[in-house]
Amino acid sequence: MEGPYQHEASDSAYQFTKAALAKGHEILRVFFYQDGVLNSNKLMDPQADDRHIRKQWSALAIENNIDFIVCVAAAKRRGINDTVTAEGFKIGGLGMLTELAIEADRLVEFRA
């Protein structure tokens, strides 16, 4: 996934996750990777008339009890650790993306 705001990828991923849940699909996990790890930053503070991407994600994770994993190597490069990640996000390894590919029927990637 890409970083928030710069591209639409984060918004698309969020809308897709929400829509899939609404249709009764199971979301095993959302994996935040590369600049996508910045979606988890609790210091994110956009202007009031814009959507708050991080808060949207946190609410979705908590309401639906979904695993939101932030890739540890990508996060460390970008100054994200568990003191910076918001509620609903957990730090995890790249292997969890491979596990997703094995376990899920479909894996959808959101890129710029």
């Binding site: 990777y33 790249l94 491979t98 094995i102 990637e109």
Partner: protein, 114 residues
Amino acid sequence: MVVFRTAPYGGIYSFEGLENVLIMGAYDQDVSVLFIDDGVLAIKKGMDNSGTGIKDFSPTFRALEAYDIEKIYIDRASMEVRGVSLEDLVIEPEVIEADAVEKMMEEQKNFFMF
């Protein structure tokens, strides 16, 4: 299938792709790797990036074999357009045509694009 379609060092994608392939190998998965478009440049020999400060990861592609990843392909047209031949590469992928790429893609469960 892990698809490399961007040139290395200008962006992080090919490095991340390599990391992904190695992890999948460690999970004993049936992984296919495809180099296409600018991705064929990711495995070029003799790149000197010493002035960039970016880690030189190209030789690490040689490790794929050690992880039993044998299904490695490269798109012929992408090579030709960029003047790349097999001797220019750090590994020896199987050269395939566009229709074989298409067929192979139809058989995949997942795609990881880098």
